[in-house]
Amino acid sequence: MASETKPVPLDFEQPLLALAQQIEMLENQLQSQPGLEADVKNLHEQYKILRRSIYSNLRPIDHLALARHVQRPYARDYFDRFDKNWIELHGDRKMADDPALVVGLVTVGPYKVVAIGTDKGRSLRQKQICNFGMPQPEGYRKALRMFEHAQKFALPILTLIDTPGAYPGMTAEEHNQAEAIALNLRVLASLKVPVVAVVTGEGGSGGALAIGLANRILMLEHAVYSVISPEGCASILWRSSDKVAAACEAMKMTAGEIHKLGIVDEVVKEPLGGAHTEYDQIAKTLQIALIRHLDTLTKLSPTRIKQDRLEKYRKIGSTIE
């Protein structure tokens, strides 16, 4: 985000806003009442403490708000920062180029990778073009083509996930959304190149998984990942749209919780205030993490890379006998 753009505040940040207003008021009076200086200083300190306190006590629904923040950095924001000369590729070669799914050739530190990411679009116009980040089968098939490209040229794959899910549309069904996702899963499982997936914002259900079956799964600190949207969950299980917060809690969808469940390999710390407050910083932090995982994975043999991935998923689940 350009430094001049002010972060849009979220609901749970209201106490901070109130405090900031107080500080501003006092500062305006400083010239007439210099004695207030100590108070102002103290309030600034209070502000910092409050901010830290708020951010260390986020509820799941607050993480959701951060994950869905309108200024959340998207795939292109990361690709641009990893490699300002990255090369975007287009199309499924069959019928369409789905803008909700961006693909390209990106250099990440010492690694050349095939990069795939969802795109929600920034402006209203872009959002509409990108279908608010909901890919259609053509998007998943564009990704599939890139999986095969990566395999052919022995390039690692990086996927960045921030999507409400696959698009629930009529044409999407007619073009076999189910098969598009399922085939991606089987092909991702078959690859002998490393795959690293990062949930950067919303990890929405099968539509996220379709580019998320990986050797390593990372989540940004405030990202969420769930089998159904909390709204969908609330309306089905509670039959009430008021219960979104409860659904968020029940589903265990935050990075920390999913990490504890053993599915996510690493939670990537965001700048205080969220990734949207410091694009450059989160991109750098993520890049360091990616390089570390690629360092490990690229040391394995191609067969071992595939085996590593298969073993990872074979174990997931909780059953008794």
Partner: protein, 309 residues
């Protein structure tokens, strides 16, 4: 007045009580079922002997896993595996009720531990690995147990070089297992990669209804895709799509026949033909190398064939 009302009326009016008590509504419902499609009343025993297909309009009723197994497999051939695998409540999930309690309720109603039965069987003499889902258990939803049982069945097929047959019926993922349930899509699809690489046949059969995470994973990865007539199959549900696109969908949207037209399934097969079709498909794919039978077929030479010089 339809038959149901007539029975109810008869009871109310206490007619002809001398010889026999009239049927209660419950007894009546156990004896008779009404076709969802043509509204015909069918004697339950007749319906079952007709494979739960309406004799009048061929509507295919939903059937349970055990009924499906008995219809498909040679008598006495089915050997269940992983029968004792059961759900835990990894998230301690609670909505208006606890997942643990819902699990108990589901099992009480369905008589099953979870939404799939897996095992080895013979279908018209052909040995197969067979999995059958049951929509009546927790909406056929896929949680850790379904995922694990499917993965184990795939491995069973792989190790024993058996064709894999899975009959799906599912509302989607089991929300109460959260992300773990989503990951079963990855787990089952990854397991199928092994079978695919080994060149072992997988026939996927889609029955009314199959949706969500099950379609977007193992159910749509068959070498051969078969759907039952009238079955509704899709990724997203009809209502969600209508809300999203703000228009009514065609009546036949997401039916088996619609999918056939849109190139998504190889065939729509009546239930009475299903076992025979599976058997023939298994037979056809059992040639692992080109192996012409020892005896050449008797064909009259009716015409001269020019040889390429």
């Amino acid at each position: 007045m339809d038959l149901k009302e007539w029975f109810a009326d008869r009871r109310k009016r206490q007619e002809n009580l001398e010889i026999k008590q009239p049927l209660t509504t419950e007894e009546y419902c156990a004896l008779w079922r009404q076709c969802f499609q043509c509204r015909e009343l069918i004697y339950t025993r007749d319906l079952h002997s007709n494979l739960s297909v309406c004799p009048k309009c061929h509507y295919h009723f939903r059937i349970g896993a055990w009924e499906r197994i008995s219809q498909l497999t040679d008598e006495g051939s089915f050997k269940e595996i992983d029968a004792s695998l059961s759900s835990t409540d990894p998230l301690k999930f609670f909505d208006t009720d606890s997942y643990s309690h819902r699990l108990e309720e589901a099992s009480r109603k369905s008589g099953l531990r979870d939404a799939i039965i897996t095992g080895a069987a013979q279908i018209k003499g052909k040995a197969v690995a067979l999995g059958v889902m049951d929509f009546a258990h927790f909406g056929g939803s896929m949680g850790s147990v379904v995922g694990e049982k499917v993965a184990r069945l795939i491995e069973y097929a792989l190790h024993n070089k058996l064709p894999l047959i899975i009959v799906s019926s599912s509302g989607g993922a089991r929300m109460q297992e959260g992300i773990l349930s989503l990951m079963q899509m990855a787990k089952t699809s990854a397991a199928l990669e092994g079978l695919h690489e080994a060149g072992i046949l997988y026939i996927s059969i889609l029955s009314e209804p199959t949706y969500g995470g099950v379609t977007a994973s193992f159910a749509f990865l068959g070498d051969i895709m078969i759907a039952e007539p009238g079955a509704r199959i899709g990724f997203a549900g009809r209502r969600v799509i209508e809300q999203t696109i703000r228009q009514k969908l065609p009546n036949d949207f997401q039916t088996a026949e619609y999918l056939l037209k849109h190139g998504q399934v190889d065939m729509v097969i009546e239930r009475r033909q299903l076992a025979e079709t599976i058997s023939r498909l298994v037979d056809f794919h059992q040639t692992i190398e080109f192996r012409p039978s020892a005896v050449k077929p008797k064909i009259e030479v009716v015409s001269i064939i020019e040889k390429n010089k």
